[in-house]
């Protein structure tokens, strides 16, 4: 049976949801091992066990939290030499891709990134990767030993299987030479009331919002609906709103009950991060915008008029 190693990303000592999603798929592909590094790793092992890990390799050295990428790369490289997993799975997140990139270069194995699925085939693995801007899906056979695949968040559903993992202390003292990119301060800016990834309604704005001064219109609608506000890459790059709001290939992936795209044309870079939403509503002045071809309801009109009217109607309905 193939052996699968899942890199469990910890966020404030808890296993990231994306990592638990990977566990669901990893169970289908073979025997699952996980590695958790930094504060909370031992507690994380229990969670990972419930999600199907047979063994969790842990190390709670604070260097894993305080230094970017290199300590984790060292630990994974040494674990690879010992255990020789066939496949190493990472989430396609900013922290994981930095570790995966260094590891793939060190092992000379290369990697496949941005996958939406992984299947076993002929004793190896084939990753499904959005291609050609997301209009197509490429089946890519992994040639690397080990195969390293980074999978987009929200590609699989989290599910518990029950079980207890054997916890193994990963004997990997962090070398001083790897303590280089030092995190000296952490600053929290966003005080999101509802997390974008977890919201049942997401309202995202793009260039059609006209400017950052109009984003409060979306905030008001979001608070009336108990939702969260997202944005397209174009307006994040333009500096209108922070990156934490970006939905898309290089931002967050969301799967809410309702996604309202306001003034967003629907470039593939964006739609890849929201197209599995249950209902999509688009408001755009351009009837030919690509987003209109995938929306359940497309409204051609002036977003700056429609959004405030919608907020008022939502409030009236809730109180009426």
């Amino acid at each position: 049976m193939a052996s699968i190693l899942v890199y469990a990303e910890l966020s404030q000592g808890k296993v990231a949801t994306t990592s638990l999603e990977l566990m669901t798929k990893a169970r289908e592909l073979g025997d699952v091992y996980a590695v958790a590094l930094g504060a909370g790793a031992k507690a994380a092992a229990a969670t990972l066990g419930k999600h199907g890990a047979k063994v969790v390799h842990v190390n709670e050295d604070p260097a894993f939290d305080d230094y970017i990428a290199e300590p984790a790369t060292d630990a994974l490289a040494s674990l690879y030499e010992k255990e020789k997993p066939d496949l190493i799975m990472f989430g396609f997140t900013s922290d994981s891709r930095e570790v995966a990139g260094r590891l793939a270069a060190r092992l000379g194995s290369g990697l496949i990134s941005n996958a939406s699925d992984v299947v076993a085939k002929d004793g190896g693995f084939v990753a499904k990767v959005p291609y050609f801007g997301g209009a197509k899906v490429a089946s890519m056979k992994a040639n690397g030993k080990p195969a390293i695949v980074l999978v987009r968040p929200k590609s699989f559903e989290v599910s518990e299987k029950g079980g207890t993992a054997e916890v193994k202390e990963l004997d990997a003292a962090v070398a001083d030479g790897s303590k280089r990119a030092h995190v000296t301060e952490r600053v929290v800016e966003a005080s999101e009331k509802v997390k974008l990834e977890d919201a049942r309604v997401v309202i995202s704005g793009g260039r059609g919002m006209g400017g950052p001064q109009n984003f409060p219109l979306l905030d008001e609608l979001a608070s009336a609906l108990g939702g969260a506000v997202g944005a397209s890459r174009a307006v994040v790059d333009a500096g209108w709103v922070p990156y934490s709001m970006q939905v898309g290939q290089t931002g967050k992936s969301v799967r809410p009950g309702v996604y309202i795209a306001v003034g967003i044309s629907g470039a593939m870079q964006h739609t890849v991060g929201m197209k599995t939403s249950k209902i999509i509503i688009a408001i755009n002045k351009d009837a030919e915008a690509p987003i209109m071809k995938m929306a359940d309801l497309g409204v051609v009109g002036d977003a700056l008029k429609i959004v405030p009217a919608l907020t008022a109607a939502v409030k009236a309905k809730k109180h009426g």
Binding site: N114, V137, A138, V258, K317
Partner: protein
Amino acid sequence: MKIVVTVKQVPDPNSNLTLEADKSISREKEVVLDPGDECGVEEALQLKEAHGGEVILVSMGPERARDAIRKGLSMGADRGVLITDSELAGADALLTARALAAAIKSEEPDLVISATESYDGSTGMVPPMLAELLGFPQLTFAKKVEISGSTAKVHRQTADGYQVVEASTPALITVTAAIAEPRYASLKGIMAARSKEIKQLTLGDLGVEKNEPAETIEGVTDAETRKAGEVIEDDGTAVDKIVAVLAEAKVL
């Protein structure tokens, strides 16, 4: 201070993509210097203006990628290096990183600046590979860079704010589009760029051998698409329609 900026020529983000017969993405259309790289070049020029030194652009691509380098030179970079080799067509991230690393090593830079990810691939895998191959620490997702002596300090964008991260140089920094507004090339800059050096190198010159690609494309199928629903002109009743959809989806 010697700063290398990695630059890439990409299909114009404002034009549509097409596929080649071998299912690779066609490069035979309008191409531009990656807009993310323009921000990297701008940041490098600002650092040079503050600290002195030299800005070198390193690219991998076909012959015509000289145009992308030339664009950066017209903004004010000092010289360019283009790695071009028919063996590099369809190169995976690792081969790309290996070729870039070999060219950059001989420059012995204090800083390497890359965009967080390219506009066409958007996977951001080359920079961490490059940092590893160069043996540099990586300061990533920077929306602000400060250099003092041999220390580089960045504000690293995170999901809920930023981290302050620092390392000794030499280091590799990836920058987001928030780092700096790229300048327009002046007429003088465009004229000056014509006589700036662009050195051309092959894999043989660099002593790099091809690796087995990390992946083999077995097939390409159409992605599942959503069916278009109803599209209506807002005649004043659109809000009622939206409210009905929200109610039906049980979010209202």
